[in-house]
């Protein structure tokens, strides 16, 4: 039986913080954070061995509310800080909770290099297609034709697909799910946490105020329904062309393989250098 929410909240939330949280009514970040907490609960790890690192943005407010070792860092620099923690203390379980603007725009280079190193960090990216905290500017994942405060006539750039980007940059686990598929999202995060090597889980989320309102998508309920309609499992995309897939949300495990992990290699280097 699944653990009731009450027990998970009692265990993992910081009760001296002000609730309800700062996110807009119906925003999907809360759903992703709850999925992460349930996945962590299923691993059986203690709170002291987990480090939750975030950058700047709406989603990066999450570590404020949860009772792990938490680190709230500079914009886009969550992954470098996490890499430092993992290199210094390999037994710690390092989790990065970040958003699309934080991870794919200003931290884009950090993302691909963390993927390339295959360091044992789990990254949860909340992709809500927009910069929410600063008022709805276009982010690298905003789909073509959508409106933002910095693209009032519609976006003309092609969007990033973060999970595919991570997989091609060398991440050994990459998956995508949506806030509608909360149960699937939880299982992907759990797989990512238990995976040895760099794992990235992209959670497509709704931003009703900053993105939905500007694009005529209505209330959060309509946006979640839209996710349900657009989602297509990766097993069904075999014969589809890029153009057909462009407007869909491809969900599922995009990459899963075994490879040499960075902290193990680094320990080997330290050994040959005579440090340990």
């Amino acid at each position: 039986m699944t653990t009731p929410n009450r027990i998970i909240l009692d265990k993992y939330l910081r009760h001296n913080k002000k609730f309800p949280h700062i996110w807009c009514p119906g925003c999907g970040i809360g759903i992703v954070l709850a999925a992460l907490l349930r996945a962590i609960d299923r691993t059986g790890w203690t709170k002291d061995e987990i480090v939750l690192v975030s950058g700047i943005g709406c989603s990066s407010r999450a570590p404020v509310y949860v009772d792990f070792n938490t680190l709230h860092t500079a914009h886009g620099r969550a992954l470098p800080f996490a890499t430092g923690i993992k290199a210094a203390r390999p037994p710690l379980k390092v989790i990065v909770f970040t958003g699309d603007g934080d991870c794919a725009a200003i931290g884009g280079n950090h993302l691909i290099h963390a993927c390339r190193r295959n360091i044992d960090i789990t990254t949860v990216v909340v992709n809500n297609y927009i910069y929410g905290m600063t008022g709805g500017q276009q982010s690298p994942t905003t789909p073509e034709g959508m409106k933002a405060t910095t693209a009032t006539r519609g976006v003309i750039d092609q969007p990033f697909h973060i999970a595919e980007l991570a997989a091609s940059a060398g991440a050994t686990f990459a998956a995508r799910s949506t806030t509608y598929h909360a149960k699937e999202l939880e299982s992907f995060i759990l797989k990512g946490l238990e995976h040895k090597g760099f794992s990235l889980v992209e959670a497509i989320s709704q931003a009703p105020v900053c993105f939905g309102r500007r694009n005529g998508m209505g209330d959060p309920v309509e946006m979640v329904k839209r996710e349900k309609e657009l989602a297509i499992p990766i097993s069904k995309t075999a014969g589809m062309t890029f153009e057909e897939k462009k407007d869909k949300i491809v969900t599922g495990i995009i990459e899963e393989r075994e490879a040499q992990e960075w902290t193990d290699l680094y320990a080997g280097v330290k050994k040959t250098a005579g440090e340990e």
Binding site: M1, T2, P4, N5, R6, L9, L13, F19, P20, H21, W23, C24, P25, G26, C27, G28, I29, G30, I31, A34, A35, T179, Y180, A182, K183, E186, P208, D219, P220, V221, V224, K225
Partner: protein, 72 residues
């Protein structure tokens, strides 16, 4: 899985609820309904099948589904 002797309770914490309507819309059996004041309420609790989708999809951590065996 016969769950005839299981009793359930859907607890909605009103202080944290922001009335987004996700729980009442996606409840598969129509157990939770949106009241006139905008807050959700498990009006038809006998319809609850314990799927916990409301709990999983609540962005505000405001819902908990409790289950226990009915004593005979």
């Amino acid at each position: 899985m016969a769950k005839a002797n299981v009793k359930r309770k859907v607890v909605i914490y009103r202080d944290w609820c922001k009335q987004c309507g996700i729980c009442s819309t996606f409840c598969p059996t129509g157990c939770i309904v949106k009241e006139e004041d905008g807050y959700p309420f498990p009006r038809y609790i006998e319809k609850c099948i314990g799927c916990r989708l409301c709990e999983l999809r609540c962005p505000e951590f405001a819902i908990t589904v409790e289950e226990w065996e009915k004593s005979k």
